[in-house]
Symmetry: C2
Subunit: 482 residues, 2 copies
C-alpha cells in the first residue's frame, strides 16, 4: 500500500475542521451517493446512495407489515381546492408548492398542486373508506416522491423533490391515535439508533414548530458531529382537525356518528444526510454495518495472480459469508491495492478483507475495519465467525461514538449569556422557556436556535425562562438545525 499516493488522493475531501459544509458535499461526491439534477434543488440519487435508501425502505416496510399497515398509492396531483380546505395546512405549505397549470396541450381549468404531502387527497378518500368502527383502525402507508420548493437546497437535507414514506391512520379515539403516533415514533427511533447507530432525543414539538394542521407533533432529533440538530423523523397526532374538514367520520360502537382521530408520520431521504453527518470522517463515508448495503468487501491483492487462485479463493470466502447472511462484494480488479482500499474506504464499507498470494500460502487473510483502521491477520477458516462479531462491534462502537459526541454537547444553562455562548459553540442547549411563541421567535432571530423538542424524558422542574425571565415548568432543547 502506497501511503504517499493515498495521502495525495485524499486531498479530494475537505477536512471537517476546515469547512464542515464543504466536507459534507465532498463525502457525497467521494462515496458516489448523489449529485445535483438539472433543475436547481433537484437531486439524482446514484446507485450507491439509492442502495442505502433501499435498505431503509426494506427495514421500515417489514416493521410496517408486522404492524398490519397496508401500502397503497395515491395520486401525485392534488386539486388546489382540496389543499386549501384545511386553513393551517394550506398556510404551511402554500409557499412551497409546485403547480401544474397546463397538461395535454391545454390550460387546465383548475391548477393542480404537486403533492407536498398527502393528508388532503388521502382524507378526502378516507371519508368514503371509513363508515363504521369496524373499518378502524385504518392503517395506510405510501412510498412516494413529494415536492417542496426549496430556497436553500442541499443534497439529501433539503431537496425540491424527495423520496419518503408517509403513513396515515384513522382511529376510534384520540387516546388510541396518540398511542399510535408515539408507537410510530418508536419505530423510527429503532431505525435511527439500532440500525443507523444514531442516538436521538424523542420529544414533542413546540406549537410553532409542529406540522401545519396537527394537534401535536412528535419528533426524534439527532445531533450531527458539529453539534447541530437534524430532525430525523416526525409523527403527528392530528386529532380530529382534518377529520372535521374532510368528514372522516364513523358510526361508533354505540351507534353514534363520531369524527375519526388521525395520525400521520413520515421519514425521508433526508435521513441519509443525517447518516453522513453523524458518522463519516475526513476519509469519507462511514456506514453502520446493520444499514450498509455492502458490509464486507474482499479485495484481491497481487498482479501476479494470473492463475486466478486468489480470485477463486475470494469467491469461496464470499459464498461462505453470504451463507452466514453477510452482504459481501469482491473487488478483483487489476488495480494497485492502495487504490482499491481507498475507494472502498470512501464508500464507508465497514470491513475490508485483504487477500493476497502470501496470505493464502499461510491460509490467512487480513481484516481491516473502517471505523478504526486496526488490521488483524486471521486464519481463513475463522473468517465467517469473526466477521459477524466484528460487525456487531463496529455497530456498537459507532453508536457509542455518536452518543459520546451528543452527551458532550448537551449543555444545561440558566442565563442568557450562557445560552448564547452555548448555542454559538454548537450545542444542544437545555434551558427553561416560558412557553410564549413570541419569545421563541425572538430567540431564533437573535441566536439562530430553534426549539428542537420538549424531550419526553424531561421532568417537570420550576424555573425561569432563559430569555423572558417568566416562570417555566420544564426545560426544552434549543439548537441550530439543518
Amino acid at each position: 500500500m502506497n501511503s504517499n499516493n493515498d495521502r495525495n488522493e485524499r486531498k479530494e475531501i475537505t477536512k471537517r475542521s476546515e469547512d464542515y459544509s464543504q466536507w459534507y458535499l465532498d463525502v457525497i461526491a467521494a462515496a458516489d451517493l448523489a449529485e445535483n439534477g438539472p433543475v436547481r434543488g433537484t437531486m439524482i440519487i446514484k446507485p450507491y446512495g439509492y442502495a442505502i435508501w433501499e435498505r431503509i425502505q426494506r427495514i421500515l416496510d417489514e416493521h410496517f407489515k408486522e404492524l398490519n399497515i397496508k401500502n397503497a398509492y395515491f395520486p401525485l396531483f392534488i386539486p388546489e381546492r382540496l389543499l386549501k380546505r384545511e386553513t393551517e395546512h394550506v398556510e404551511g405549505f402554500a409557499p412551497e408548492v409546485a403547480v401544474v397549470t397546463h397538461a395535454g396541450g391545454k390550460k387546465l381549468e383548475e391548477p393542480l398542486v404537486v403533492r407536498p404531502t398527502s393528508e388532503t387527497i388521502m382524507y378526502e378518500t378516507f371519508s368514503n373508506w371509513v363508515q363504521s368502527y369496524r373499518d378502524l383502525p385504518l392503517l395506510i402507508n405510501q412510498w412516494a416522491n413529494v415536492v417542496r420548493w426549496e430556497m436553500r437546497p442541499r443534497l439529501f437535507l433539503r431537496t425540491t423533490e424527495f423520496l419518503w414514506q408517509e403513513g396515515h391512520t384513522v382511529h376510534e379515539s384520540m387516546k388510541e391515535a396518540d398511542a399510535w403516533a408515539r408507537q410510530m415514533l418508536s419505530v423510527y427511533q429503532y431505525l435511527a439508533e439500532q440500525v443507523m447507530a444514531i442516538p436521538v432525543i424523542p420529544g414533542i414539538k413546540s406549537e410553532s414548530e409542529k406540522f401545519a394542521g396537527a394537534f401535536c407533533t412528535y419528533t426524534i432529533e439527532a445531533m450531527m458531529q458539529d453539534g447541530k440538530a437534524l430532525q430525523f423523523a416526525t409523527s403527528h397526532n392530528l386529532g380530529t382537525n382534518f377529520a372535521k374538514v374532510f368528514n372522516v367520520s364513523f358510526l361508533d360502537r354505540d351507534g353514534n356518528r363520531q369524527y375519526g382521530s388521525q395520525t400521520s408520520w413520515g421519514l425521508s431521504t433526508r435521513t441519509i444526510g443525517g447518516l453522513i453527518m453523524a458518522h463519516s470522517d475526513d476519509k469519507g463515508l462511514v456506514l453502520p454495518p446493520w444499514l450498509a448495503p455492502i458490509q464486507v468487501v474482499i479485495i484481491t491483492i497481487g498482479h501476479a495472480d494470473s492463475t486466478g487462485v486468489v480470485e477463486q479463493k475470494a469467491r469461496e470466502i464470499a459464498e461462505e459469508l453470504k451463507k452466514a447472511g453477510i452482504r459481501v462484494e469482491i473487488d478483483a480488479r487489476q488495480l494497485r491495492p492502495g487504490e482499491k482500499f481507498y475507494e472502498w474506504e470512501k464508500k464507508g464499507v465497514p470491513v475490508r478483507i485483504e487477500l493476497g498470494p502470501k496470505d493464502l500460502a499461510n491460509n490467512e487473510a487480513i481484516l481491516a475495519r473502517r471505523d478504526g483502521g486496526e488490521k488483524v491477520s486471521i486464519p481463513v477458516n475463522f473468517l465467517a465467525r469473526k466477521i459477524n462479531s466484528l460487525l456487531a462491534d463496529i455497530q456498537t462502537n459507532l453508536y457509542k461514538k455518536a452518543s459520546q459526541n451528543m452527551v458532550s454537547k448537551i449543555k444545561k444553562v440558566d442565563t442568557w449569556d450562557e445560552f448564547s455562548r452555548a448555542v454559538e459553540a454548537g450545542n444542544f442547549v437545555l434551558a427553561h422557556w416560558c412557553g410564549d411563541a413570541e419569545v421563541e421567535k425572538q430567540i431564533k432571530e437573535e441566536t439562530g436556535a430553534t426549539i428542537r423538542c420538549i424531550p419526553f424524558e424531561q421532568k417537570a422542574e420550576d424555573g425561569e425562562c432563559v430569555k423572558s425571565g417568566k416562570p417555566s415548568v420544564t426545560r426544552v432543547i434549543f439548537a441550530k438545525a439543518y
Copy 2:
C-alpha cells in the same frame, strides 16, 4: 353456505357476456383493487391492488439485481429544453405532458415537464458518467411514477399517472445493446407467462408503432379474453440516436471516441389491467398462485366456536403453511360462511380452506379452488403437501386456459374480406402486409386494428398484402388493442 344469498350478492358484477367493459370495472371494484382519484384520469391504488404491484416489483427487482442492474432515482421534473432535444421523442410525447409553470410562489423562468419517461434527463447525466469502455455496460433502473395526459382514461390500462420501472443502459456496441434489449424482453416474458400465467407473443413493432426516438421496439403482446390485445411490456434498442443528441460517448478499447449504444425498457401498473382481463370470471378476480399476494385463505366456520378451538387450529395450520413458504391469511370473522367465501372469491385468492367444528372432529378440512370451484375433503395433516401441488396445478390450469383462448383466436387470413370479419370478431389476425405505413394507417382507420408486432417466430413467407395486394415477405399480427 347459503347459495341463494350468494346468487343475489353476485349480481353486483356485470356478466362478461353482457358488457365486457363494465365487467372489467366491476371486478376492480369488487376485488377492491383501485378507484378513481379526484383529478380525471388519476387512480388511487388500494391496498390489495398495491399488494399485487409489490409482488410484481419484488419479482422483477430480484431478476434485475441478478443481472447486476443498479437502481437509482432521477428527478420528476425535466426542463422543457431537455425534452425537446431529440426531435422524434418530443413529437411523440409533447401532446401528453403535464407542465409546471409556477413554484415557490413564483412563475418559473423555464417551464418544467413532469416526466412522461426519463430518457432525456437520464442521458444528459449518463454523458458524464460514461467516459471509457471501462464504464460499460452501464445498467440503470428506476422505480417511479410517470405522467402522460390521457384522453380516454381507464383504471390501470390508461391512467394519467402510473407506476412503472424504466431501465436504461449504455453498451459498447449496437450488437450488445440489441442482445440486451431482447434479454430484458425475455425477463418480461418470464413474468407474464411463468408468474402471471399470461401467454404472450414476442416480436418487433412496426415503424409507426415503435417508441418515439428508438431504433426499434421489441414487445410482448398478450390476448385478453375478448380477443383484444394488450401490450404487456416493451424493450427498445435505441441505437445511438439519443447518444448523439446527449453526447453519451466513450473511449473504446482502441482509444477511439464512440457513441454508446443504448436500450430502455419498461413495465407498468398497466399489466395489472391485463392480469384482470386475462383470467377473471363473472364471480370476480382470479389470481395465478405464483403472483397472488394471498395464495390461501383459511376460513373458520361456525358461530358456535365460542371456545376458539377452530380459530386456534386455523392459526396452527397457517403457521405450518407459512413454514412451507405459502402466503396465507386467516378469516375468523363472525360472519356467515357464504359471505366470507364470496368475499375471497371476488378477490381471486387461489385456494380456500374451510375449517369448521365438524371437520375438525374428523381431523379434516375442506379445500376449494378458485379456478374450478371443485371441493375436496382432506386430512389436516396432509394440507401443506397437498396445497403446494394444488397451487402448481392451478397455475398450470390458468396458463392453459389463457393459451387455449389465444390459440383459438389467432386467425391466418389472406383476403380483405376475411381480414375485416376476423378483426371484427375479436381475433389476432396473421396477415401479409407490404410494409407501407400508409397502408397500415388505412387498415387502422377502416377496422380499428393496429399491427401488434411482427412475431419473432414468424418465418419468411412470400405473399401479397391483405390490403394493398403488393408483395410481402412475412405475416404480421393485426388486432384491436387496449
